[in-house]
């Protein structure tokens, strides 16, 4: 029996789908059998980020309404044999499925996969309830902004009510802004949210480039965000991996320039 993990945030645009795609891929990279489920019905984009849009035949609603078998709707990833995705429907909306139906589908998937990664829509309404229904744990994604932290707090409260333990991923950290005090720092966020920190992901242009190319960032080991996602995946498997330093390792020349105050 595998484990179902919902990726949620409350606020939109903090990187739920990117995190889902990258963690799913990173877990597959570590040799796990993974299925990603997009529950953002009507606004699906996990398939776009994964570059699997043109392979979709059936979707989540088709499965729920019995128009196809679960296995028929699963889309196999083009990079890994053990990575699958269950896409959301694009023409329906969140009320066309209820939490019990999602729970049944997730339960079915857990039998065959080590990890079921559920990509949750923004908001705390029906879509959120659907996504959380089948989850054993949650990863709450936030960015170092007050609004995102507030929403993350609200979501953690709701998850506690449904007895889904949550861990935190802080996305899109900019080292230079944290250093100058313009951005909330990690300790501050952890103090307010009071949940375990699973990892931090630095802001990286390569993430956007990769998402547009339909190629998850994790595949590119030169990207710092990729390393961060791989670290998170290893922590999910129970490895002890230290948090990556925010600053890039600076070379001798850089350090010298910094010393002179021009770096």
């Amino acid at each position: 029996m595998g484990e179902a993990i919902v990726i949620t945030s409350g606020k939109g645009g903090v990187g739920k789908t990117t995190t889902s795609a990258n963690l799913g891929t990173a877990l597959a990279l570590l040799g796990k059998k993974v299925c990603m489920v997009d529950t953002d019905i009507g606004l699906r984009n996990l398939d776009v980020v994964m570059g699997l849009e043109n392979r979709i035949i059936y979707d989540l609603i088709d499965v729920a309404e019995g128009r196809c078998r679960l296995n028929q709707a699963l889309v196999k990833d083009k990079r890994f044999d053990e990575l699958y995705m269950l896409p959301a429907a694009q023409t329906k909306d969140k009320h066309d499925i209820d939490p019990e139906q999602v729970r049944d589908i997730i339960l079915e998937l857990k039998k065959d996969y080590d990890y079921v990664i559920i990509d949750c829509p923004a908001g705390i309404e029906q879509g959120f309830r659907n996504a959380v229904a089948g989850a054993d744990r949650a990863i709450v994604v936030t960015t170092p902004e007050n609004a995102a932290v507030r929403d993350a707090d609200r979501v953690i409260g709701l998850l506690e009510q449904s007895q889904v333990p949550a861990r935190l991923v802080i996305n899109r950290i900019r080292a230079n802004m944290v250093r100058s005090g313009e951005m909330l720092d990690i300790d501050e966020i952890c103090q307010v949210l009071a949940v375990d920190l699973l990892g931090i992901v630095p802001d990286d242009e390569k993430v956007i480039r990769a998402a547009n190319a339909g190629e998850p960032t994790v595949m590119d080991p030169s990207s710092r965000a990729a390393i961060a996602y791989r670290n998170i995946a290893r922590r999910m498997l129970g490895d002890m991996v230290p948090l990556m330093p925010l600053e890039e390792k600076s070379g001798v020349i850089k350090r010298f320039r910094k010393f002179l105050g021009i770096g």
């Binding site: 507030r150 929403d151 707090d153 609200r154 409260g157 103090q191 009071a194």
Partner: protein
């Protein structure tokens, strides 16, 4: 007869329980009792001797009133009144500020903790979280959300917190909005109180000046 029933008669193992409404007039209750006993429930109330317990709900009846209920029931020879009871008199909560509730946990955004009396919270209140109390509020943790003490006008209520960083404080009818109105840079435990209708904030050590309670040392 009145349109609403004030008396419910229930059969239990020991006999009958008369549940009397606690909101209506006492005289209405007596009238209905008479009516029920004499008219509508004859089939139930004739026969062998039955023990009767009368429950008055939250109504606090005087001895005479209890006696008149007993008298009315005794008219039926087969009914034996065993007891006439009110519910355990509850402390009129709102008026007792010392009805202290201890709660452990984090009050997160969108969550509200409401209490009649004073509240001791072991944990934080996050921005968007709310505490509502008729008495005092003490937070052993960081107060980052909204706290309203003395809700029903108890203006002598205070709000104390280990770390005072609220989005808004209310005591009685007074609303204060830090940090526009005041800001405390201290990390020490502080409390907010009303002084002549204005909210002030001070260190915990100053509270004894506001609330003079002679200390009694027992040998």
């Amino acid at each position: 007869m009145t349109d609403k029933q004030h008396i419910t008669i229930k059969g239990v193992k020991e006999g009958l329980v008369f549940l009397l409404d606690d909101k209506c007039e006492f005289s209405a209750l007596l009238d209905e009792l008479q009516f029920k006993l004499e008219k509508s429930h004859q089939q139930l109330l004739t026969g062998p001797i039955v023990h009767v317990h009368v429950k008055l709900g939250a109504r606090q009846a005087s001895e005479e009133e209890k006696e008149s209920i007993k008298a009315a029931i005794r008219q039926r020879g087969n009914l034996l009144v065993q007891s006439v009871e009110s519910d355990v008199p509850q402390e009129p909560e709102g008026e007792n500020p010392h009805n202290l509730k201890v709660h452990t946990g984090i009050i997160r955004s969108g969550q509200t903790l409401e209490h009649n009396g004073s509240l001791l919270l072991m944990g934080d209140v996050n921005p968007g979280g709310t505490l509502l109390c008729t008495g005092d509020i003490y937070v052993l943790g960081a107060l980052r959300g909204l706290a309203h003490a003395g809700m029903q006008g108890r203006e002598e209520s205070i709000i104390a917190a280990s770390l005072m960083r609220p989005t808004q404080l209310r005591i009685g009818e007074v609303i204060s909005r830090p940090p526009d109105e005041w800001m405390s840079g201290d990390a020490a435990m502080e409390f907010a109180y009303l002084s002549e209708g204005v909210m002030k904030i001070d260190k915990m050590t100053q509270l004894h000046r506001l609330r003079i309670q002679p200390v009694v040392f027992k040998a």
